[in-house]
């Protein structure tokens, strides 16, 4: 596993999980990754690769049908998986925040935007109503919303998708957290808006020195703003390292296939090639032997 350039903020070590519904099928296979202070770390994989499970594990919202079977998540010197609920809740919102995937369902349709930004500020930063309102205004300004007063007084359905995502980004960064998890924040948006949002996240992140774990299935998106990458396939880390290194000199066949699959608008003849079957077959074999190894190790331990 490669190490970040700065001291580690989030250290996931050998995280494993199984799906209780699918006959204990492994969902995460000893995943390890490190996010440094002020680093934007991309977590890339197809749907079902286990990216959102990792995000949920960090936030403590793993669904009941998934069971974490090993590993730890180090944050600020503490293992998040072992924290009591009260302490985790104290951490959430203040030190760890989320930018959700779908801006249309992530905002409460019956509450004004102002309330949805200020409630976190007042709860976590102890601000008064006045202070929180002023801060919310400043935050909306920071995410380049032209008429903050109007947006604050609006309801979600009165705003466009891009605006709502900016609001969510503002709310996430507004608490000055140490780590922001961005869960496919541009997936639900138009391509034209995607670029702006990415740039926004990058600028906010660098200004506040926030670490970002950027979850995405789109290598193209991740390539634009991430310092380092982790490539996930079926719950297993297949490649990890600095973005430039991974993209220019990918070591794993799957990564190569992913890169090839990405449409590049400057080269119209490339892109959207499905992952070649032999790569898939190799991956499957790799994972099968990994699982066998893990099972053997487990049996070995229980014997010994």
């Amino acid at each position: 596993m490669s190490t970040p350039a700065t001291p580690s903020r989030l250290a996931i070590d050998m995280l494993s999980a199984i799906s209780l519904r699918d006959g204990n099928r492994p969902v995460l296979r000893q995943v390890s990754l490190d996010v440094g202070v002020g680093e934007v770390h991309g977590l890339v994989g197809e749907s079902g690769a286990g990216k959102s499970t990792i995000a949920k594990a960090i936030l403590g919202i793993v669904p009941s049908q998934v069971k974490l079977t090993g590993g730890q998540i180090g944050f600020e010197g503490r293992d998040l998986l072992k924290l009591p609920t009260g302490e985790l809740r104290a951490l959430l919102g203040r030190d760890i925040a989320l930018i959700p995937q779908d801006p249309s369902t992530a905002l409460n349709p019956s509450r004004r935007i102002e309330a949805q930004i200020t409630d976190g500020l007042r709860l976590k930063r102890g601000m008064s109503a006045k202070e929180a309102r002023a801060r919310a205004y400043a935050l909306l300004d920071e995410v380049q919303i032209r008429d903050p007063a109007r947006v604050l007084a609006s309801y979600p359905h009165q705003l466009s998708g891009g605006m709502r995502q900016r609001v969510l980004i503002a709310a996430a960064f507004g608490l000055e957290p140490k780590l922001v998890i961005a869960d496919e924040p541009t997936t639900a948006l138009d391509v034209t808006v995607q670029k702006q949002i990415l740039r926004l996240i990058r600028s906010l992140q660098s200004r506040h020195g926030t670490s970002v774990l950027f979850v995405s299935h789109d290598l193209g998106v991740v390539a634009k703003i991430c310092d380092r990458l982790t490539v996930l396939y079926m719950g297993k880390v297949v490649e990890q390292g600095a973005t430039a290194d991974v993209l220019n000199a990918p070591r794993h066949a799957y990564t190569k296939a992913l890169i090839a699959a990405n449409p590049r608008y400057d080269q119209p003849d490339t892109g959207l090639e499905p992952t070649p079957p032999q790569v898939i077959a190799e991956l499957r074999a790799e994972i099968a032997s990994f699982d066998a190894h893990v099972a053997q190790a487990g049996a070995g331990i229980s014997h010994g």
Partner: protein, 334 residues
């Protein structure tokens, strides 16, 4: 928004007219002579005829209806045959008692039902929730009539702490400017009197409130549980908010719509229930009055009462539509 109001009011007027016609017809169909019931035996036929003429019961039906309609439109509902007072005065004097009772029951039902629904949502997927569901399912079956009598039994025999009849102790019923005894005594700071009124109202209020509370528990809890599954609740949870806060701040306002609409409809049943509950507790409102009026065949009073009840129902329905529209931001800014 304005168009909707006009539409509703128009519909209400039409319904009210329909109600009036039906009542009028019903009462004229009655076998038995109401006037003869009132007159002392031995009265001469001339006296009876005079009385009939006085109450306009001799004229052909259409004429009677026309006379009555004209009078109603000018606010004159005639004179009560049994009480010998103008119907409007009688209604005005008894209505405040029922209004206080109905609203007290509504408030109790909302607080009780809402509270239990929230508790059930916080306890979802536990044994407590199953218990609440089971209990509530039985509560839903029991009408106010049975509750009223069960309370009579309880407080007459087991815990004789509450008065079983009336609205207020007779000696305290002095010095009121309006007939809104409870409201007035609270607003003028006469809390001892207010306490006395509340002790009288406790049982009828509870009897009326319980069925409504059961309905609220079932619907609100279901709506709340659905709302709690939404993404915005998850996001709020990730922001670090506690469970109770999530239910009340995030889920409640999105869940309350259907419950509000149903509560409005059920409130009309509650008002209808005052007829029998007031009777059981000898509470001097329009419900109790209605039973007497019907038993004594007091036509003018019955007509006035039925129109009054009809009007109340219609107003409640309009109010509910307003509130539902108000609560949904999408409709408001449509």
């Amino acid at each position: 928004m304005f168009a909707i109001i006009v539409n509703r009011v128009g519909g209400a007027v039409v319904t009210l007219i329909g109600v009036a016609v039906v009542v009028f017809i019903l009462l004229r169909v009655v076998p038995g002579d109401p006037v003869a019931m009132m007159i002392s035996p031995g009265a001469s036929p001339e006296d009876i005829a005079a009385l009939k003429a006085h109450y306009g019961l001799n004229a052909p039906i259409l004429t009677q209806f026309w006379i009555w309609t004209k009078a109603v439109v000018t606010g004159d509902f005639g004179t009560s045959i049994t009480l010998h007072l103008p119907v409007t005065d009688v209604l005005a004097s008894r209505l405040p008692a029922t209004i206080e009772l109905a609203f007290a029951a509504l408030i109790v039902a909302v607080l009780l039902g809402g509270g239990i629904a929230i508790a059930g949502t916080l306890a979802r997927r536990t044994i407590l929730e199953t218990a609440i569901d089971g209990f509530n399912s039985i509560m839903l079956a029991v009408p106010d009539f049975i509750w009223a009598l069960a309370l009579v039994l309880l407080f007459a025999v087991a815990l004789p702490v509450l008065p079983l009849t009336g609205r207020i102790d007779p000696d305290l019923a002095e010095g009121f400017a309006t007939r809104f005894y409870l409201l007035e005594s609270v607003l003028t700071g006469r809390f001892d009197v207010a306490g006395n009124i509340i002790s009288h109202m406790a049982m009828p209020t509870l009897a009326l409130a319980l069925p409504l509370a059961a309905v609220i528990v079932r619907l609100l809890k279901q709506s709340l549980k659905e709302a709690m599954l939404q993404d915005y609740v998850l996001l709020a949870r990730i922001k670090g908010f506690g469970e109770l806060r999530l239910v009340i701040r995030e889920a409640l306002r999105n869940a309350v719509g259907p419950t509000l609409a149903l509560t409005g409809v059920q409130f009309t049943f509650l008002v209808g229930g005052t007829v029998i509950v007031e009777r059981i507790f000898a509470y001097p409102g329009i419900g109790n009055l209605a039973i007497d009026a019907v038993i004594n065949r007091d036509f003018p009073l019955i007509q006035g009462l039925v129109l009054l009840f009809g009007l109340i129902f219609i107003l409640i329905n309009i109010a509910v539509e307003f509130m539902v529209a108000l609560l949904n931001p999408r409709l408001r800014h449509a």
